[in-house]
């Protein structure tokens, strides 16, 4: 199933700087098809900056930045998304004054030219029955969990190959968090590749295949999920064992 020698995303020496502040200082990162890879680290370690840089929303430099065999250097976000990599941003950022349906339509906007948005939307509503019920409500009127569903659904409307998820469980009730993690597992089972940034380290490492630990914009630790789970650093810093 997986093709270890043919990574979907391959990054070397990625730096992100905002003016004089370096948020990410030259990291290497690989995501293979069908994997869930998680990026862990404290607040301000550079996790969100990394995701934003990958889709072109943060100012970035890299020695090499390849996605599905194409060079990402200098591409604007809209082009990167059209190539099949998209981001569900931190804080959900649904278009709150637009209806649920309109949010989904915009998510599928790149299909407008290809001509199958209706099918994608039907699939989506089947997967998220709650969104079908709320189709004509303003997105801003949804609960936090529902908004997160919408944000993920909206991103899936572009039929991505690689989905970047930035803190999907942030600020949600525990049962809702469980449902989000179930959903992520589900998506992987259906063939989607996922790069996940989470503060919920235990649950992330449970679902992920591999992980990276960022500190001060550098990769401090990496390995398989099991290896990380049992590493003393992770135990001490995050799992409180």
């Amino acid at each position: 199933m997986t093709m270890p020698d043919n990574p979907l995303l391959s990054i070397e020496g990625l730096t992100v700087s905002y003016g004089a502040v370096e948020a990410v200082r030259g990291i290497d990162l690989t995501v293979r098809r069908g994997e869930i890879v998680t990026l862990l680290g404290a607040n301000g370690a550079g996790k969100s900056s990394t995701l934003n840089a990958l889709v072109g929303l943060a100012p970035r430099k890299a020695k090499r930045m390849e996605f599905a065999g194409t060079d990402l250097t200098g591409l604007p976000p809209e082009t990167i998304v059209r190539r099949g990599m998209t981001l569900v941003p931190e804080g959900r950022r649904v278009f709150s004054s637009l209806t649920v349906e309109e949010n989904l339509m915009l998510g599928g906007a790149k299909h407008a030219a290809r001509g199958n948005p209706a099918q994608v939307k039907a699939d989506m509503l089947e997967r998220f029955p709650i969104l079908a019920e709320r189709l004509h409500q303003k997105a801003g009127s949804l609960s936090g969990g529902e908004q997160q569903m919408l944000a993920i659904g909206r991103a899936l409307m572009s039929s991505p190959d690689l989905l970047l998820l930035d803190e999907p469980s942030l600020g949600l009730a525990p049962q809702v968090v469980d449902r989000i993690f179930d959903l992520i597992g589900n998506l992987r089972d259906r063939g989607l590749t996922i790069l996940l940034v989470e503060q919920n380290v235990a649950q992330s490492l449970e679902i992920a295949d591999r992980g990276y630990v960022l500190a001060n914009g550098r990769i401090e630790l990496q390995g398989s999920a099991e290896a990380l789970r049992s590493s003393p650093e992770i135990q001490d810093a995050y799992l409180g064992a």
Binding site: G56, P77, E78, V81, P89, L98, S158
Partner: protein, 295 residues
Amino acid sequence: MDIFLQQLLNALSLGGTYALLALGLAVVFSIIGLINFAHGELMTVTGYAVCFALIWGLPFPLAVIAGLAVAMTAAFLMERVAFRPVRGASGTTLLLTSFAVSAILRVLFQNLISARPIPVAIPASLSGVVTIGPLHLGMIQLISIIVTLAMLLGLNLFLHRTMAGRAMRAAAEDFAVLRLMGLRANSVVATAFAISGLLAGVAGVLWVAQRGSVDPLMGALPVLKAFIAAIIGGLGSLSGAVAGGFLLGFIEVILQAYLPESLLPYRDAFAILLVITVLLFRPQGLLARKTLVKL
């Protein structure tokens, strides 16, 4: 009572023009955070286009269409030439750029066309009076009310029924995330400018139809009024801009109508005072957007 009704109609007509102008500013501001002070020059460009089209022998309706096309093209070019290179820069940079564009255009009009006003041959049929019961309404006033309402309705349909319109609303809320939908930033911004140009063009035609001439500085006052209206409404809010425009028109007309003669010279001061009062209670404007996520 009849006089009051008449004044209400006057307020509707004036406020409508302000609303169109403020909306033109707000459409662009909501998306790229630019207060385009060269918006008034788009009106001037429209005026010259209509004027020269008429001199060239085009019938009035065609001249108006030509004027609107020129306005949209000019807005589009403004974005492409002046504003795209500074997109994402600080608000001050954007503001100064728009002042520079405005100043350059004014000097170009003065040096390449004429410093003096050029008469525009508005058809006599537009000078007529429409009498509805006890109310007299100038043809142009009536047209301006109808056109304003049609424009507002049309824009509303565009924003809610078309993909480009939805994208504009989404861009106003969160431009960065809109790009994650795979929609090109440049085309969304270009659409915003084209709409802004169309709004300025329509307002420009109405403005010129009332004054009968075009001059290089014509856009200065209307853009100021539009700015005030947009501030009252809450910068960046489209419905706020419309509400602000109508409110400003209403305040001005009512003050003009009912201030005692000795205080009339201070009308504008009173109008601004009322605006400040509104802002004291609603510092973000009447219909401020709750969130403003920048690029």
